[in-house]
Amino acid sequence: MIHLENVSKVYPNGTQAVKDLSLDIADGEFVFIVGPSGAGKSTLLKLLIREEQADSGTVLVNGHNLVTMPRRRVPYLRRTMGIVFQDFRLIDKMTVYDNVAFAMRVIGYSEKTIQRRVPMALRMVGLADKGKRKPHELSGGEQQRVSLARAIINKPSLLIADEPTGNIDPERSLEVMKMLCGICQKGTTVIVVTHEHELVKQFGGRVIGIEGGQITSDTTEPLRYPITKKAASFTEPKEGLV
């Protein structure tokens, strides 16, 4: 899925964000990336989605070589990914349904397909009855679940969550994390960048520590997926999304 070899990135202001970093992530893995601010976590994600380009080394994602990939091919790489943002990035004037549908509309899906898949995605994140609501009418946790539904709507093989629990309370954080685990168990590779060590300890899985642009630790524990009533309802519909 992901293969990084001796990757370095220096920003124009001279900051060395990533330094000779090598990393392999297999298909279907659940990976936490942890580290203090300025450690290079965000740059690593940016390299994976080709928002930034490595100065040297190899970056392979979903079989694409991102170092040599021409710019015009980048959108097609991103169609194999889903991204969950810390600040949710929901469009206030749109309903929950339209926020999720938006991700399909802008890459040209037909309304028929959209009408079939969006309710499924909302059902998966437990918001089937809130499609007509506006984002500001929802709690932080619910908003992040909408963001999650939008991230999985295009059936990505890689899901990147950048501090997905940064703006929600601990209980809701747990809920969102369980959903991410559920998505991973359906075969999607999930990378979660977080500051929240407690949450990481609770879930286990592979934990990669980054500091100074380099990997300082890489440990793997079995992924603990505490099944709750809500998480149990997070089952795949007849035609799965992930």
């Binding site: 965000s42 994600l45 940016k46 989605i49 928002e51 015009r72 959108p75 097609y76 790489l77 991103r78 169609r79 194999t80 990914m81 889903g82 991204i83 943002f85 990035r89 469009i91 938006f102 991700a103 509309r105 802008v106 890459i107 040209g108 899906y109 037909s110 309304e111 939008r150 295009n154 950048d162």
Partner: protein, 304 residues
């Protein structure tokens, strides 16, 4: 690019205009002013050219006789004029007829006061030349005749009109150029503001793999609609005002009525060209702004 998404993006373009209506309105007004000036300059120019052509066709020269040249002397002069080889026709107009032609302009009271001894005009002859290239020689010959005050023709008017046309064209071009740059800036700024206001949407579009071409569509639609709207409005204003202005000008100079272009000949070119220019400016302003935004801040997805 899947075509099924196009209707949605077009709709988004129109939605942008409404969501950003004050800035859109400002852009339309500025572009409208620019196009009105452009259209006016173009219409004045084509009409002046038509006038010049009309004057060329009508090569009648007026030979003014001195006021003290009485009717007998005038008739004798007429015979001498007819004897000049290059003069094709020679028509006499008495000073009374000349004054009568101004009756309407002068009003009845002034006209009455000028009649008889008070008539400031002299007799005159209207002549046509056989060969216009011999104009200077023929006029010199006419001027040597006793009783001739001056010779007037429309070549000086034609020259003045040509100069006016050159001035209108040059000044018009500069005005259009300057206003064009201002308008491009305004449209580009409107689109930039729209893009900034919708930066989240753009980052989401980019994160799910929308191509730059797809991201561009709503913003380009917005810019083009602003341009087209300004083009249509300016042409409608010009079409409405054209005939009244032409009529007013005809009241001052009579030949404007016959020599200038009637509305049915100009309305379609005005409509098509101004709408086209408006659309083009919108397209250009939008393209500059969208491309610059997407190449810079618009490329960011995760932010700093």
């Amino acid at each position: 690019m899947k075509l099924s998404g196009i209707p949605y993006l077009l709709k988004e373009g129109f939605r942008n205009i409404w969501a950003n209506r004050m800035m859109s309105l400002a852009s339309v007004v500025v572009l409208l002013s620019c196009l009105l000036i452009t259209g006016t300059a173009a219409l004045v120019s084509v009409n002046v050219q038509a006038l010049i052509a009309g004057i060329g066709d009508d090569n009648e020269i007026t030979v003014y006789l001195r006021p003290d040249c009485n009717d007998t002397d005038s008739l004798a002069l007429g015979a001498k004029l007819s004897a000049i080889p290059n003069i094709e026709t020679c028509r006499f107009r008495s000073r009374k007829e000349v004054l009568a032609s101004y009756q309407k302009t002068l009003g009845d009271n002034i006209y009455a006061a000028m009649e008889g001894e008070g008539n400031p005009f002299g007799n005159e002859y209207k002549i046509r030349l056989q060969d216009l290239s011999q104009y200077e020689t023929t006029v010199t010959q006419i001027k040597t005749l006793e009783g001739v005050d001056k010779v007037s023709d429309r070549s000086d008017i034609a020259e003045k009109l040509t100069r006016l046309d050159q001035f209108v064209t040059t000044a018009g071009l500069w005005v259009v150029l300057i206003l064009g740059v201002v308008t491009l800036f305004i449209i580009a700024n409107t689109i930039k503001m729209t893009m900034y206001a919708r930066r989240f949407e753009i980052s989401i579009m980019k994160s799910v793999g929308a191509t730059n071409a797809f991201v561009r569509i709503p913003f380009m639609v917005e810019a083009m609609v602003i341009g087209l709207l300004a083009g249509l409005l300016s042409s409608v204003v010009l079409i409405i005002l054209y005939e009244p202005i032409r009529q007013a000008a005809s009241n001052v100079i009579g030949m404007i009525r016959t020599a200038t272009l009637p509305l049915y000949e100009v309305w379609l070119p005005v409509l098509l060209s101004l709408s086209g220019i408006g659309l083009l400016i919108g397209l250009l302003g939008g393209a500059v702004s969208v491309t610059r935004y997407l190449n810079k801040e618009g490329g960011a997805i995760l932010g700093t």
